[in-house]
Symmetry: C2
Subunit: 459 residues, 2 copies
């Protein structure tokens, strides 16, 4: 980009919204991966019209534009791989409307996810998707990555709560996809195509999100098992027993020991696995579902199976889960959090495969995650400064992906492909699908100016 | 198409699968609209490979191909507008696999929707989407139209239950979209793009569908009201009271009288509207939700509010609803069933608008439908042989669409655009969205051979 381009961008975006200093640009050069790419200019977006004007200029001049929310992503989706303009969405963070009859909330894309939920709760409603980064990530980023979270089994993922979107296409067109109605089949389902498109098709500026009534009751249960097989069998039996839990988390032995090292919470270091289970709904339903859960765990030889009898006990149960990643992160200098996902029925095999990979490469790998939806987080504990170990880590990651796909699973349950997994995409996606995805990208972005370098390696 | 083309199609598809006689082709020239288009040749699809080969030939020769399931569609989606090949999917109707732990069923696209549900119920599971044509329509057609039904409010629509698809692209490529996992963000969300694409992007050959455990209990409630406003107010209060009913149907006075004429079931002809409500789940939840529903209806001056105490009483309650369309169809020679949909909070205004349109054009219009999700079915009772009246009907339809869109609604909640509503699409869809949808169509089908003449009027 030359001075003329920069001046034009200042003219379009407003000089006060254009960041050029190297120090400041550096702050926007990384995300939650270990990758780094420096944008040439950072633009603070403040209106849909302004974004549209930027795109009209960028598409005319073939300047790359990379949208960025809170940069909590784990696949590099918001990094300006080809330089150009980094479009910072966090100033567009307003709540525009809440309608408790239609169960809808209208927000700007840069709002923090937790604030959407907080606003909903003022009306007895809640926003179900709860990615781990709910306190820091933006709704726009959540939609772009189709973020998941702990409540996936019962409540689904981000895409299940997006009714309508305002977005800006790479050619500068402002579009409104979707409807304010529960049902709507007018034209193609572009809203869902945007979900998980990783900011490569359009920049989301506003969203109409679906809310649900807050369940009046819930119950938390902690079950400990000698073996991870017994825990996984319980997961299967709970689901096939007709109970769809709101949360069904598993933590393996490596992770339990890391948590105990960190918290000293008195966890039994010898157990093979623990399950953390929550059911919610009307009190009567919660009571009967909690009974089913406890019966299933006990019939699978649970060492103990305890239902929290107070909010304090509930918090204690969940404290261990919340500490999982930070506990693992203390063990060695670097933590590689994967999200290979398998069908629920293949969890035992996946955990075994991960344990074998850990042995093969002599790498500690802790596994925890959303067992109810087969979305595990094998976490490799390593030291990325050690070049020899980096090679082992990369091989281990590839083996984890292979194992997941062989078990009928997927490369990524909720983190996205971005830069991190682009090289592996064809392991899962057949040639025809890959080619048609590229043609869809081209239909939106013929010059590849929007978030280039993501998902596809050969555009 | 010339004799050479026909011979080649016989060679590819197998002679026994090719239908040429005018009488038989005539059977495949109509659907559930009043439209008719004659295909040049009908091919009975019997494998994904065969379909792929047909497309390779058709795309080379630029011959139109129109997929057809059970032809229950209400927008002309399966009619061979430009002649060419009609691809009959109903022989591909096998159940391939059921997995009660993963809550998944694998089927071929031509299977009848009710058979999917019946298979699921053998395992204590069910397939939630329930379009009115559940006994006759195919899963492939349901997915192509993103079919809705009575349970939309609580359970969503077809797209919410499609995990993965096998499909054939217009160029003959066989693709596998989606995953067998609850979460999956590898590549673009092509599965959801297929939902509601009306058979214009790819031909769906297999589907992996999500199932749910059968709720152990349910309750049906019938509430009668003096005015439709009180009924609609009850709908709003039930939802904002935190109860998401599995079904929440409304029937207006015109329809009640038609049903009474037909069934003689002793319905009170003077009432303004009735609500038919079902809640389901664990027994405890059903009991408390049914109480909320009854309380809300009574506080909105329900003339009566009765909960069915036996299966027989339940069937009686639903008998009236099931008879709604056939009762209206008896009144005059032709029935035009619309599905304009509004946000739940605007139902009263929509019913008023429909009543005003009925007065303006002196046409009887009965309204019933899925009040819980704002998906009403204003049904115009007319005589399409009367050319003068046809003009009035067309104006009334356009007015209904305008009213729905002005109230923040949509042209079509669940029937699709097809041929019937293609001319109205731009009333709702902005120019940028329309153009990008056409570019997506071109990305899949550059020569416009797959199901041409649908959705877009200018391809």
């Amino acid at each position: 980009m030359n001075t003329k381009d920069i001046n034009k961008i200042k003219e379009i975006a407003g000089e006060e919204n254009v960041i050029l200093s190297e120090e400041e640009r550096h702050c926007y050069s990384y995300d939650s991966t270990r990758l780094e790419h420096m944008p040439e200019v950072v633009v603070r977006a403040n209106s849909t019209r302004q974004i549209s004007d930027i795109f009209k200029f960028a598409s005319a001049e073939k300047i790359p534009v990379t949208p960025r929310g809170a940069a909590t992503g784990l696949s590099g989706g918001c990094l300006a791989v080809n330089g150009g303009i980094l479009l910072l969405m966090i100033d567009m963070d307003k709540i525009l409307d809440v309608n408790p009859v239609d169960l809808l909330i209208d927000v700007e894309a840069g709002i923090i996810t937790e604030e959407v939920d907080a606003e909903a709760r003022k009306h007895g409603l809640f926003y179900p998707p709860d990615p781990g980064t709910v306190k820091t990530s933006t709704i726009g980023g959540n939609i772009a990555e189709n973020a998941g979270g702990l409540r996936g089994l019962k409540y689904g993922v981000t895409k299940n709560y997006v009714n309508a979107l305002e977005a800006v296409l790479p050619n500068g067109d402002i579009v409104n996809f979707g409807t304010r109605t529960v049902k709507g089949v007018t034209g193609y389902n572009m809203v869902d195509l945007m979900s998980g498109s990783e900011g490569t098709l359009a920049v989301i500026t506003k969203a109409t999100l679906r809310l649900l009534p807050v369940p009046p009751a819930k119950a938390s249960i902690l079950a400990l098992f000698d073996t991870i097989e017994e825990a996984a069998k319980s997961v299967r039996d709970i689901v096939s027993g007709g109970v769809i839990t709101s949360t069904l988390e598993i933590i393996d032995k490596v992770t339990i020991n890391a948590i105990e090292d960190y918290l000293g919470a008195g966890l039994n270091r010898d157990i093979g696995a623990m399950l953390l289970i929550e059911v919610d709904g009307q009190q009567g339903a919660v009571d009967s579902e909690a009974e089913v859960v406890k019966k299933v765990c006990n019939s699978n030889n649970a060492l103990s199976c305890r239902q929290a009898s107070s909010d304090q006990e509930r918090d204690e149960i969940w404290r261990a889960r919340r500490a999982a990643l930070s506990s693992l992160a203390r063990v060695r200098p670097s933590t590689i959090l994967e999200d290979a996902t398998v069908p629920r029925s293949r969890i035992v095999e996946m955990v075994e495969a991960v344990n074998n990979i850990a042995k093969k490469y002599e790498l500690p790998i802790g596994t925890f995650g959303h067992a109810g939806d087969g979305n595990l987080h094998p976490t490799i504990l390593t030291d990325m400064r050690d070049k020899k170990e980096v090679i082992k880590v990369e091989k281990a990651i590839e083996d984890i992906f292979k194992a997941a796909i062989e078990l009928g699973g997927t490369l990524s349950g909720e983190h996205g492909i971005g830069i991190s997994k682009a090289g592996y995409l064809r392991m899962e996606i057949d040639k025809g699908s890959y080619e048609i995805m590229k043609r869809v990208k081209k239909a939106f972005d013929p010059d590849n100016i929007l978030n280039p370098g993501k998902i596809f390696t050969d555009l």
